[in-house]
Amino acid sequence: MSKQWFGWAGCILRVNLTTGEISKEPLDPELARAYLGQSGINAKLLYDLVTPGLDPLSADNPLIFGVGPLGGSLAPCSGRFTVTSKSPLTGIFGDSNCGGHWGPELKNAGYDHIVITGRAEHPVYLWINDDRVELRDARKLWGKTTWETDELIRTQLSQPTAQVACIGPAGENMVRFAAIICNLARAAARTGLGAVMGSKNLKAVVVKGDKGMGVANSERFSEVVHQSVADIQEDPLYGVATTFGTTAITGLAQMLGFLPTRNFQASTFEEAENLRGEVLLEKHVTKHKGCFNCPVSCSRFYKVAEGEYKGTVGEGPEYESVSALGSKCGNGNLPSILHANTLCNQLGLDTISCGNVISWAMEAYQRKIINPLDFAGVELDWGNHRTINELIVQIAHRQGLGDILAEGTLRAARKLGGEEFAVHSKGMDYPAVDVRGTKGMALAFSVSPRGADHLKGLPLYEVAPEIYQNDIKTEIDIDITPAYWSEYNTKAKLISWHENWHCVVDSLGLCKLEGIAIKPLKPKHFQQLLSAATGWDISIEELEAIGERIWNLERLFGVREGIRRDDDLPPARLYNEPVATGPAAGERLDHDKYEAMLNEYYDLRGWDKTTGIPLRERMQRLGLEKELAQALAVPVVKG
């Protein structure tokens, strides 16, 4: 089945948990040509399988795993995989991209995608060992943490190097922002797909493969790989990335005034010095750690050696987690953040949504919307790190206030009050950038098809323009100015370009830390790597068009569920409340300027400016006429 393929394994595995039926089918070459792989093909499979209005936690909602044509290859940073489903958090398109070693193992086992449907009668896990695929009883694993599950399964199978992607109690209890965890700390976390797994009684997907993969032109591929690695290592910021990973951002965010603090009530934090990556490195990091075939190794193992949280060990945390469980909650206690990060990984929670919903609850308490007496006296004062850690456990187990917070910020706000300070887009919590000072990111977070999102359209060039000004000019033909990040002009062009290429990167199976979001790997690298690996004759322009197709398909998924222009606006707080202190003091989003930027974005995208619906002409060009017709055939019912 796979001999004709280079790059791809050439096989889709389908598993019906209701009937126990397992089948394999060849990957359609036309599908690969149109959507590349991983997140792109996942999106197409999802679009075709989901009917509008489907309950994301119903048996009919498919859960799709995918790895790209470069995934598991010698291409640098090729350890990614994507999980895709209809999101239980947002009710629209959901996907999450994850590193580690699970994705390459799936490719080694001979599969590009796994499509899981139905619901098992009792907890099971899926065991894939090359051609042998079976569902195994997981009743004794139910209730276990992700760390326990990972260890128990590998021991039970006598497969110490098997790769385990599993859920913890949060996924089992269908917390709407539950994560899927692999390698103990790598998380497919955003959009709550761990809850979909829990709804299916699926505890884990375990993979061990020995087939390897082939490339079409090994000599040329090796040449491009070496050049790509050299370009990564020669990047001016390589030293920062490999030493600190994303935690270096904490100090920068404070310095430039975009560090979300107390649920976005401020954008600088008076205790930020305690949270800097430098402090983490000096006091807690024990060793650096990398994902599959990564020359950067941006992650780190940590240990808390003394104090209240003595004994805490784990991996990470990323900047997003430091902010979500730290500054957003007014918490300047770094050891407590490390403990909270470990808890989230063990219980299987998205640290971003978890931190955000707790920070929202703290503000609701500040505004006397939440009465502690109604919830066993929980103390929700800002910076109370013990409460943060207690609430994480309560959320995962749906206990007390945690049961309400487990529904996510928007649903909790609608139940208890306080929706005006729920900082979200399309129901997903905001990442750790106060976008009142960074107008392009405001647009990127708002138009993302999966809700507020720093990864789909991240315009890194916006925050470090002088480093990348030549690239901005060469790649996007934009002339920057010294105050570029606070401007509205040209941002629509900047964002749409990033969105297209991020779709490509996520579909090839590479990591965005080194591709597009930061300079080293550029479109020419992707084209050369893909061409050498697969034997395809493909141009940079054709690749970008595939990215545009994927982006529009994800948009059409939202349109089919009722997403319109109103859903592409930032949360009210960011319009109405100027930044109070710090370097961005006085900044807020200007309504008219934002709307003009959105109009420009719709023009570039070929979307209707009144509704935000993609127009027929552009969809015809992208080969999405049928999908557009399906999206328009559904009457709009908005909740």
């Binding site: 001016p236 030293g239 920062v240 990335a241 990973g245 951002i249 005034g257 800097r276 830390l513």
Partner: protein, 104 residues
Amino acid sequence: MALIKEQVVSVTVKYYVLFCIAADYCKIEAFQLKGPSDLGVLLDIICAKYGPQFHQHVFGADGRLKSTAWFIINGKKIDSESLFSVSLTDGDEVIISSPLLVGG
């Protein structure tokens, strides 16, 4: 004869990211500048104190300021063109940092 009191300018320097490591994990440090008090003078003092490992993060092999060396005074990023001649005044806070990706 009237005594001319030598002017002393006190500034605080914060070291971020690789500059923090190059400064032996020093995160914040006070300096008192006597005589000329511009950023160039301050940088000379710091580079002399922390040696070649610090210097190489600020300057390239050609002796030019690296694009990855950012200087922020009182929250405002200083343009590299005029960097060395920027005057410092008493109480200024100087941050030395690299720009970085946003993600995670």
